[in-house]
Amino acid sequence: MSCREFREALWEAIDAGRAAGGSPHAEACPACAGYARRAARLEAALSVPAAELNADLARAVASRLARPAPEPEGRAALAGAAALVLAAVAAAWWREVDLSALPALRFDPDALLRDAGLVLRVWRDVGARAGAGEVWTLAGVAVALWLSTHRPAWARRTS
C-alpha cells in the first residue's frame, strides 16, 4: 500500500464511521502515522460547532411570516428587463431612430472586442456586489440600449 492509498483509505474509514485503527503501513511509515494522528485531531476540531445559537428565532420567524410575501426578486427583475426590451424594440420600430449612424457606434471589430472585455469586467464586478435582481435589470437595460442603437433586421420597418 502506498502512502497515498493509505491516506485515502483513512478518510474513507472516517467518513464511513469506522475506527481508523492501526495499519501495517502506518506502523512502518512514521509520516503516515503522524498524518493519521493529525487526521484524528482535525476530525475532533471540525466536530466542535462553529458557534451556538443564543436566541430563540421562533418569534422572529413568526413575525416575518406575518408580513405579506414579497414578489420573488428574480421574477420581478425579469419582468422589468422584458418590459425594457419590449419598449426599446417598439421605439426602434416606430420611430426609426438610426443611432448606429453616429461615428462612435459604427461597427468596429477591435472596438467591439475592447467593449466586450469592459462589459465582462463591469458585469463581474457588479455581480459580485449586487443581487440577481440588480444584475438582471442591468442586463435588460444593456439589451434595450443595444437594440435601440443596433436595430436588427427583424426590427426594421420595411416599406
Binding site: 493529525r38 466542535v48 460547532p49 462553529a50 451556538e52 445559537l53 420567524v61
Partner: protein, 183 residues
C-alpha cells in the same frame, strides 16, 4: 409521537401544512440550533447566519405544501439555510471572525473539551474562515449536518467522486495548519 412523548417532526409538519402556526413554531424551536450551526460555518458570522436561518424557515413555511413530511424536516431546512448563507457570503467580502472563533472554542462552553482540542479547534476555525463559501458549505454539510458523501453529492448536484476529491484536498489543507502534537 416519538418515545419521549413529543410529537414527531412528521406529525408537526403535517399539522403545519394544515395551517397550524404553533406546530411550525415547535419545528423551528426544535431545529433552529442545528440549522444555525450549519449556517454560521458557511456565513462566517452570527448576524448573517441568524438572518439565513430566519429566511430558511420562512421559505420552508411557504413551501410546506410541496414538502413530503416523511422526509427529514431538519435536513431540508438546513439545506435551504446553507444556500441562503452561501448567497449572503458571496455578497460579502471574506472577513476572519477570530473573536467569534475564540468564543466558539471557549472551554467554558464545552467543558469536556481539553485545552489542546480547543487550541486545535481555534486554529482550524481560523483556517476555515479563509476558505471559499462553497468549501465552507461542504464542511457544513459533512460536519454540521453529518451527511454521507452520497447525500452531499446529491445536495450539491455533483458526483460522489468530486465530493471525495474536494474533501480530501480541503482536509489536507487544514491538516497543514495543525502542527505535530507537542511541537
Amino acid at each position: 409521537m416519538d418515545p419521549s412523548g413529543e410529537p414527531s417532526d412528521e406529525a408537526l409538519a403535517r399539522r403545519a401544512q394544515g395551517g397550524d402556526a404553533d406546530a411550525f413554531g415547535a419545528l423551528v424551536r426544535r431545529h433552529q440550533g442545528r440549522v444555525f450551526r450549519a449556517a454560521v460555518r458557511v456565513a462566517g458570522n452570527r448576524a448573517d447566519a441568524e438572518d439565513a436561518v430566519q429566511e430558511a424557515f420562512v421559505r420552508a413555511f411557504r413551501a410546506l405544501v410541496r414538502f413530503d413530511p416523511l422526509r427529514p424536516f431538519g435536513a431540508w431546512v438546513a439545506k435551504i439555510a446553507i444556500n441562503r448563507a452561501l448567497t449572503r457570503a458571496s455578497r460579502r467580502k471574506p472577513s476572519a471572525s477570530l473573536e467569534e472563533a475564540e468564543r466558539a472554542v471557549d472551554p467554558a462552553a464545552s467543558p469536556e473539551a481539553g485545552a489542546a482540542r480547543a487550541a486545535d479547534a481555534a486554529e482550524v476555525r481560523r483556517a476555515v474562515d479563509g476558505l471559499s463559501a462553497s468549501d465552507r458549505a461542504l464542511l457544513a454539510l459533512r460536519y454540521d449536518e453529518g451527511l454521507p458523501v452520497s447525500e452531499i453529492a446529491a445536495t450539491l448536484g455533483v458526483r460522489q467522486g468530486a465530493v471525495k476529491v474536494r474533501l480530501l484536498r480541503l482536509r489536507e489543507r487544514l491538516l497543514d495548519r495543525l502542527g505535530e502534537e507537542g511541537a
